[in-house]
Amino acid sequence: MTGTETAPSDRYSISVEDLCLWYADFQALKHVSVDIREGLVTGLIGPSGCGKTTFLRSLNRLNERYGNVKTTGTVRILGKNIYDADVSLGELRKAVGMVFQRPNPLPVSIYENIVFGLRVHAGARALTRRQLDELVELSLTEVALWDDVKDVLHRRATHLTLEQQQKLCIARLLPLKPSVILMDEPCSALDAEGTAAIERLMDGLRGRYTIVIVTHNMAQARRTSDECIFMLLGELVEHGPTVNVFLRPTRKETEMYVEGRYG
């Protein structure tokens, strides 16, 4: 990071240029170019199949695991094109974490879930038990889960409620000190209360992490995001402050979508 004096939101954390992506013959992303501001919550909205999840997954190269995917264009994160040949997926994913639609804690203890990332990157013996304990407490406190689970840290994470599981999935990213957190409809498996809890949590992370969230729920996009990107049929249609996208959209398609005429 360069030590500039500008406010966090004046800098870009992700710069996408002319990104195209094909699943075999089907083009899922068409010449997407966008700059995503550091420290803000950016919402990705659009009807099903518009490419928003694909776009999100291309920000940490998760698409590649499913063969037959071709990507062109550049995605700069912290100034580095992540599609360059010298980028290691392990290092990239340390910096760009992802939270999934369905909470997917690993079938090990809560404690092990949190330290898993560190173990994977540093080797088990690089950190002392004490350091690990501290990191676990810190991470769980950050997501407001510490008080609920501090006595059952060695129980299986899959026994937690869905809301707690999703919080854990966010907490386990934090010890890796990511710059970007990608969220793929993180609340769609949760009830209203769980949704509110996760949204409060996102609010607390705002400013310290760049968050990109895909959501089907337009009210949620309005509540949680600072900026919004509207996508349609693989193209980026509109990008701007959330208020503008919802109240003064510049494109007809955006207006009709946010009014609920289709999608």
Binding site: N60, L62, R65, G67, L89, G90, E91, L92, R93, K94, G97, M98, F100, R102, N104, P105, L106, P107, V108, F116, G117, R119, V120, H121, R156, T158, H159, C169, R172, L173, L176
Partner: protein
């Protein structure tokens, strides 16, 4: 009848009598339903009957010889008396060595096929080969064992050659069951690991394999009973008519060297039933009871292990 109640429930209630009663089609359906349930039930019972009949016959006819001494003593007086210690320990040798070879290779090959190999022409060819290998008759495996291990590798007819032949025979099922056990681990666990920057191997070692253990172990253990029961593969590769081995003390547990030939239960049963005259029926049946008892107890162990491991995991 509820006629009184019906009349008090208001206008039109009288029409409700007989409403929802079964018509001719419904009655026919109900009849067919009963017939089908009865038929399927009796077929299931029919399936179990032979097993019970076989076990009962075996145990009844073997009853006179069944004792602890039968298991711990060697065959005596040209195999017309005594016990089955030498073949029993031989079977243990063959099973243990063959699995020690086949299990690691099979499990690792299964891991490769399910976790690393892409969906391409080569993978399909390998999978096809594995499936076909599983269908090869055991006598063909025996001939392969003679050609490859006894003659070509120069091991000669021995415990090692017989075990390797059994290993080749059990490999395909171990590979297939490993693949299936791994495929049953939810993809979301792998995604979660990859997303924290874990490599494929880290993911497999820390998450995928521990959650597939019950399936893999079941597959491996079931091959114990197969390796213990087969006669053909060891017939030409290492089993022998009779060996005098110690049946007392520590030495009785290590009677065979890797390059010695050995006796085995299945082959012993074959010889005392068809090759040796004057063997009492009880002795033959006793050998069969021990062999089948061994197989059944290994299978039971496999099932209980599976149940235990299943009860510990949850997702």
């Amino acid at each position: 009848m509820a006629r009184d109640a019906a009349t008090t429930t208001g206008p039109g209630a009288g029409d409700a009598i007989g409403r929802f009663a079964a018509g001719p089609v419904e009655r026919r359906k109900a009849l067919v339903e009963r017939l089908v349930a009865w038929l399927l039930g009796s077929l299931t019972v029919l399936l179990v009957l032979p097993l019970i009949a076989i076990l009962a016959t075996l145990v009844a006819k073997a009853w006179p010889v069944l004792s602890w001494a039968f298991i711990t003593q060697n065959p005596q007086t040209y195999m017309t008396a005594g016990g089955i210690w030498a073949p029993l320990i031989g079977t243990f040798y063959l099973v243990f060595i063959s699995l020690a070879v086949a299990a690691p290779i099979g499990v690792l090959a299964g891991v490769y096929l399910n976790e690393y190999a892409g969906e391409n022409w080569t993978t399909r060819l390998v999978t096809l080969a594995v499936v076909n290998l599983a269908g090869v008759p055991s006598i063909v495996h025996a001939l392969f064992g003679v050609g490859a291990f006894v003659l070509f590798a120069g091991i000669g007819r021995s415990v090692l050659a017989a075990s390797l032949t059994l290993a080749v025979m059990t490999l395909p099922v171990i590979i297939t069951s490993t693949k299936e056990a791994l495929a049953a681990v939810p993809q979301s666990f792998r995604e979660a690991c990859w997303n924290m920057g874990a490599s494929r191997w880290q993911t497999i070692r820390t998450i995928v394999l521990p959650n597939a253990t019950s399936g893999i172990l079941t597959g491996v253990i079931l091959q114990v009973s197969r390796a213990a029961g087969e006669t053909a593969p060891i017939l030409f590769t290492g089993a022998v008519f009779y060996v005098a081995v110690p049946d007392r003390g520590l030495a009785s547990f290590f009677p065979y060297g890797l390059f010695d030939r050995c006796m085995a239960l299945s082959y012993h049963l074959f010889t005392i039933s068809t090759q040796v005259t004057g063997v009492s029926e009880a002795l033959q049946y006793g050998t069969a009871v021990v062999l089948i008892g061994l197989v059944i107890s290994v299978n039971l162990a496999s099932i209980s292990l599976r149940v235990y491991l299943r009860s510990r995991k949850r997702w």
